[in-house]
């Protein structure tokens, strides 16, 4: 069976900037995958390439084994159905001023055969958003909520969500991530969520894929990450050749006479058991790992 999402050597250039560099990854089916990375790391570009909104400079992006660009390659032949297999919420995509909330939901319903109008209506009501309200009269959070609602009420096989909770209050944020998780579980849908709020992602995601400077730095399940990746403190003169085979150094930072290494041992053998001479070892969460891989100062605190 073809994976839902697969990229092979995918690159995209914008003028002088190479936004994605030779990206090869597979996103597991029926899971929530967190796509993380600093600003400008290529997350939104990856989404647009998967949607077929941008053409790759080189390589391929595939959905269900078919090339994402040009879009017609994966559209129904008769053209009569909308082919709502992908539902997306992208950061800069917004309806024009003068549109009402109802018009936004109706447009989405028009594209999706199995749109859950009751759910969309109910979710808007919960946030006190009347369907007759004009788009420009909504707050940033309300706009986001309406778009997220419209996306999640569409029954799709793949959801691409770029900062879905941007501008939402904590309650709405929690509710939204609950819905995302529920959607993936109930419909066996594949969900890819990009966000900078790592705590949210850690609660709802099963997998994590990290992009830095357009390159894939890490892709693993959260469970794997917790079990197999360790932050280990050595003396600065420690010879890394002594590390057991199969150990990958994800990041390294030196502070005076000590060195901190983030190590990933892929095999069943636990890192805790196989590294000699270390001073301290810690399990890492998504946030700590993010700081380590991006080289941010926060990793040291």
């Amino acid at each position: 069976m073809n994976p839902t999402v697969e990229t092979v050597g995918l690159s995209r250039r914008f003028g002088d900037v190479l936004a994605l560099k030779n990206l090869s990854l597979t996103i597991p089916r029926g899971q929530v995958t967190a796509l993380v990375g600093p600003n400008g790391s290529g997350k939104s570009t990856l989404f647009k390439l998967l949607l077929g909104h941008l053409a790759p400079t080189s390589g391929e992006a595939r959905l269900w084994g078919r090339e994402a660009f040009p879009v017609r390659a994966r559209e129904p032949v008769d053209g009569t159905t909308s082919g709502m297999r992908v539902a997306c919420l992208l950061d800069r995509y917004e309806p024009p001023i003068g549109t009402t909330v109802r018009a936004v939901l109706k447009l989405r319903r028009c594209a999706s055969v199995e749109f859950n109008w009751e759910l969309a209506e109910q979710l808007c009501r919960e946030q006190n958003i009347p369907l007759s309200r004009f788009w420009h009269r909504l707050s940033k959070g309300q706009r986001r909520w309406v778009l997220a609602t419209a996306t999640l009420a569409s029954r799709a096989e793949l959801y691409l969500l770029d900062e879905p909770a941007d501008g939402l209050d904590p309650t709405a944020r929690r509710k939204l991530y609950g819905l995302i998780k529920q959607q993936a579980l109930q419909n066996d849908a594949t969900v890819i969520v990009a966000s900078h709020v790592l705590e949210d992602l850690e609660r709802c995601a099963d997998y994590v894929t990290m992009l830095i400077d357009g390159e894939l730095r890490m892709s693993a399940s959260l469970e794997q990450m917790r079990d197999e990746i360790r932050e280990v403190e050595f003396s600065a003169d420690f010879d890394t050749d002594l590390l057991p085979a199969g150990t990958q150094i994800l990041a390294r930072r030196e502070t005076g006479d000590t060195a901190i290494l983030w190590l990933w041992h892929h095999e069943q053998l636990s890192v805790d058991d196989c590294i000699p001479g270390e001073i301290l070892r810690r399990k890492v969460g998504l946030t700590a790992l993010y700081f380590a891989l991006t080289g941010a100062d926060g990793a040291l605190s």
């Binding site: 053409a55 159905t81 082919g83 917004e94 447009l107």
Partner: protein, 244 residues
């Protein structure tokens, strides 16, 4: 009771035609369509002299009755092209991210443009071709009518020709600009070539005599070139990028 075949066709049409999408794509054209409808209706009902020529597309003297119409047609076509072709705008990205197939989007945008053109053109064509304008002005004791009525019969066809040439040309230009291979300039060059041909064709058109072979040849070539641009624009539409 509906026959099965009819029922199937109806279902297919209902599945294909998406009213909310059509309204979404027509809405940016609503104001200009209504303005054009008022303009063409007023022209038909009120303009006292015959609508004779469209060959003064450029240089335009704004002296003949037809000149404002032509100016409006050009503006209308630009409006349609801009409303549809802002491929780097947020709303363009939004529409393309709703889950419609490219084919559905394309057909509905063409349908929206067609409706907009018809809203402007139909009052004009109906008034002139049914003889309603001629009769009305005759009732108002206009000295030109009804005898000048037959001289106007080419005018609605010429206006439609302008639409038929300008819309595919402008559409082709923006579609080329939105392609990954960045063919923006070449699209403009091709569209400009068609517009020059349009000018030459109109120049060869004579109101008071049957067109000569040169005029007819130019007209046929122009229609052919527009058709090719229309088909090419429609084909390339499937490959455009959304650069929001």
């Amino acid at each position: 009771m509906m026959e099965p075949e009819h029922e199937e066709n109806t279902t297919r049409l209902t599945r294909w035609l998406k009213w909310d999408l059509l309204w979404w794509q027509f809405r940016p054209l609503l104001l200009i369509s209504l303005a054009g409808c008022v303009l063409s209706s007023s022209l038909v009902l009120l303009h006292p002299t015959p609508l004779l020529t469209v060959k003064l597309l450029w240089p335009m003297k704004l002296r003949d009755a037809s000149d404002p119409v032509i100016l409006f047609v050009a503006l209308h076509c630009c409006w349609i092209a801009i409303a549809e072709g802002r491929y780097a705008s947020r709303s363009f990205g939004f529409l393309f991210a709703q889950g419609f197939s490219r084919r559905t989007l394309k057909m509905h945008s063409l349908l929206a443009a067609f409706i907009s053109v018809m809203v402007v053109w139909l009052p004009l064509a109906t008034g002139v071709w049914t003889g309603g304008r001629s009769w009305l002005l005759d009732q108002w004791r206009n000295p030109w009518f009804p005898w000048a009525g037959s001289l106007e019969s080419d005018f609605p066809a010429m206006v439609l020709l302008l639409y038929a040439v300008l819309i595919p040309s402008l559409r082709y230009a923006w579609v080329r600009a939105a392609l990954p291979c960045r063919g923006g300039i070449s699209g403009i060059v091709v569209a400009s070539g068609i517009l020059i041909q349009l000018k030459l064709t109109l120049n060869s058109w004579h109101v008071f005599s049957t067109p000569d072979r040169y005029g007819v040849t130019m007209l046929v070539l122009l229609c052919l070139a527009s058709l090719i641009l229309f088909v090419a624009g429609a084909r390339l539409y499937d490959d455009i990028e959304v650069r929001t």
